[in-house]
């Protein structure tokens, strides 16, 4: 068989490694074989390709020293930095919060792992915990690490030596330039060279190709030049309406912290592409980020009208139902996910919790056993934490204690487990131990209100009124509507005024 034909066949079947090997052989015979060269670049790109719309990694530097936002203190409901009003969302006492003060989502994407911490202090503290590692800037993030690793794994150096490439020559040849650009951008992660190539290429086609404009925007986005990215994308959209361009434009607006504009753009896109699920999901994500659960769930349901297999929508709606006191409805959604073939520790953990709270006790422990056997290191701690809750529910305090201990053994900065251990110790009457646990919880995640409040209540009973006052103030800061903390604070204020 013709080796080039075979290589193409491998490429179509996504057997990129075999395709690359074959192309390398062809190129050894004839180094000027353009077909083989293009195919090899495309195969190498395919190996590491991830959808650029979904990838979003925000480093500490971008986040804290962000000078793109217009106002430091924005009006409520217009910024993603402030958690928002919480319309239709369950209270913070029921649904756990992430560090940014938003309810935990039912679904994680590359950008949503950390959330935006509000202050420099928090931003620097956050990555200390082993499980939320955040790069200092996105320039040192995952992309670069992947790039260097792929370079190391090729023993005879990189396939294309970018420093020796004459970009002007390649830019004039559209058949080679597009593959080369994707190779530089995705495989080498060399944004600056990619930008140079894209700029030359768009010039050589007299600025008439929307594709190059979108690629330029991608480069600008990675380099943090958001306004330039916006201009390129708008120009691309006037030439050719594409879903991808809309998604990128919204990504730029989200980074510029203009969620309402982003929603507007999504809606413009929806007028052209009716029922496009990626656009609908985008709107839902933004509402979720602004803690506007009514709208978020509405749009997720819209997504399900068009695509009933949409994992993200199902997971987010299920999470919402669980935390608004309808575990049996959540159970239905999670079971649907299981039918669809999602099979991992997280899902079984959620199923177990839903079963327990929907009073289907026969399935609970089986689900958790499955979750334990499937879970990876990072989720194992959370699974044990939830089993601890089941144990608390059936009144088996010893088992609960052991479960929380195991949580801490698996992840030694699991603040929730420390807090619950403190509560259990207090029940046993070990005040000193309880204090130590509450303190550990307070230090590891200051955004939670429970340990602050517990510490305050305990200190109040022990007569240490000053530290009780301070802790209660921190609890109210973390959760402004917490009645018990406010009550305690009122009592203490009254007490102090009598002195």
């Amino acid at each position: 068989m013709d080796p080039l034909f075979l290589a193409y066949s491998y490429f179509r079947r996504r057997k990129y490694q075999q395709c690359t090997d074959l192309c390398s052989q062809l190129l050894e015979k004839n180094p000027y074989d353009q077909a083989a060269w293009t195919l090899k670049t495309r195969a190498l790109t395919g190996q590491v390709y991830v959808d650029e719309v979904d990838v979003d990694e925000e480093g500490i530097a971008e986040m804290v020293m962000d000078d793109n936002t217009i106002a430091q203190v924005s009006r409520p409901g217009t910024s993603l930095k402030q958690p928002g009003t919480g319309k239709g969302a369950p209270s913070q006492g029921i649904r756990p919060m992430s560090q940014s003060g938003r309810p935990v989502s039912g679904f994680v994407r590359p950008g949503t792992q950390g959330g935006r911490p509000g202050t420099m202090e928090r931003a620097i503290m956050t990555p200390r915990t082993a499980h939320t590692a955040r790069p200092v800037t996105s320039a040192s993030g995952r992309y670069v690490r992947l790039g260097t690793a792929s370079m190391l794994s090729t023993p005879d150096g990189p396939f294309i030596n970018l420093a020796r490439l004459n970009f002007a020559k390649y830019a004039a040849r559209p058949n080679l330039a597009k593959a080369l650009f994707e190779y530089i951008f995705h495989h080498e992660n060399d944004v600056r060279n990619a930008l140079e190539l894209a700029a030359l290429a768009t010039e050589s086609v007299q600025f008439k190709d929307w594709w190059w404009k979108v690629q330029l925007a991608k480069c600008y986005y990675r380099l943090g030049m958001y306004r330039d990215a916006e201009r390129q994308l708008k120009s691309a959209l006037t030439q050719q309406e594409m879903i991808d361009s809309y998604l990128y434009l919204c990504k730029v607006y989200v980074r510029l912290d203009q969620p309402l504009t982003a929603v507007e753009v999504y809606k413009q896109g929806l007028e052209k592409f009716q029922g496009e699920t990626t656009l609908l999901t985008g709107i839902a994500r933004i509402y979720e980020g602004m803690n506007d659960m009514d709208n978020a769930v509405k749009f997720y349901k819209d997504v399900l009208n068009f695509d009933s297999m949409h994992v993200e929508a199902i997971a987010c709606i299920a999470t919402h139902h669980f935390y608004t006191d309808q575990p049996e409805v959540a159970l239905k959604f999670y079971r649907r996910l299981l039918q669809m073939g999602v099979y991992n520790g997280e899902l079984f953990n959620n199923l177990g919790l839903c079963c327990f709270y929907a009073q289907q006790y026969d399935m609970t422990l089986t689900c958790f056993e499955r979750a334990l056997s499937l879970a990876e290191e990072q989720t194992l701690a959370d699974v044990w934490f939830n089993i601890g809750h089941v144990a608390l529910g059936i009144g088996d305090m010893t088992l609960a204690y052991q479960c929380f201990r195991l949580t801490v053994a698996n992840n030694n900065d699991h603040a929730e487990a420390y807090n619950n251990l403190g509560v259990l110790e207090l029940r046993k009457g070990n005040v000193e131990m309880a204090r130590a646990f509450f303190q550990a919880a307070m230090v590891t995640s200051p955004h939670m209100h429970e340990p602050h409040y517990n510490w305050a209540a305990l200190a109040d009973q022990l007569g240490d009124l000053q530290s009780s006052f301070n802790a209660a103030k921190r609890a109210v800061e973390a959760f402004p509507d917490h009645v018990d903390s406010k009550e305690l604070l009122k009592q203490l204020r009254h007490h102090f005024s009598l002195l």
Binding site: G106, S150, L337, V342, N349, N454
Partner: protein, 71 residues
């Protein structure tokens, strides 16, 4: 979904003999549903793991070669 507008208000009896004691109790952290991972995230993590593996393997090979060379 619970409607936030017409929530039922609690009725607190104000007449007659009434004994009320509010004990401040400590609170537990709530159970946590785990978020599912998106396909992109899973792919990124897989790629990262594989890349680390290859690099580690290469380093090991290089070490072994050095050892062979010395002995």
């Amino acid at each position: 979904m619970p409607e936030s507008k017409d929530q039922i208000k609690e009725i607190l009896p104000k007449q007659g003999l009434l004994y009320q004691e509010d004990m401040p109790t400590v609170v537990l952290c709530k159970p946590k549903l785990l978020p599912l991972k998106s396909v992109t995230l899973e792919k990124l993590e897989k790629m990262q793991k594989e890349a680390q593996e290859t690099v580690r393997q290469q380093e090991k090979d290089a070490q072994n070669q050095q050892l062979d060379w010395f002995s």
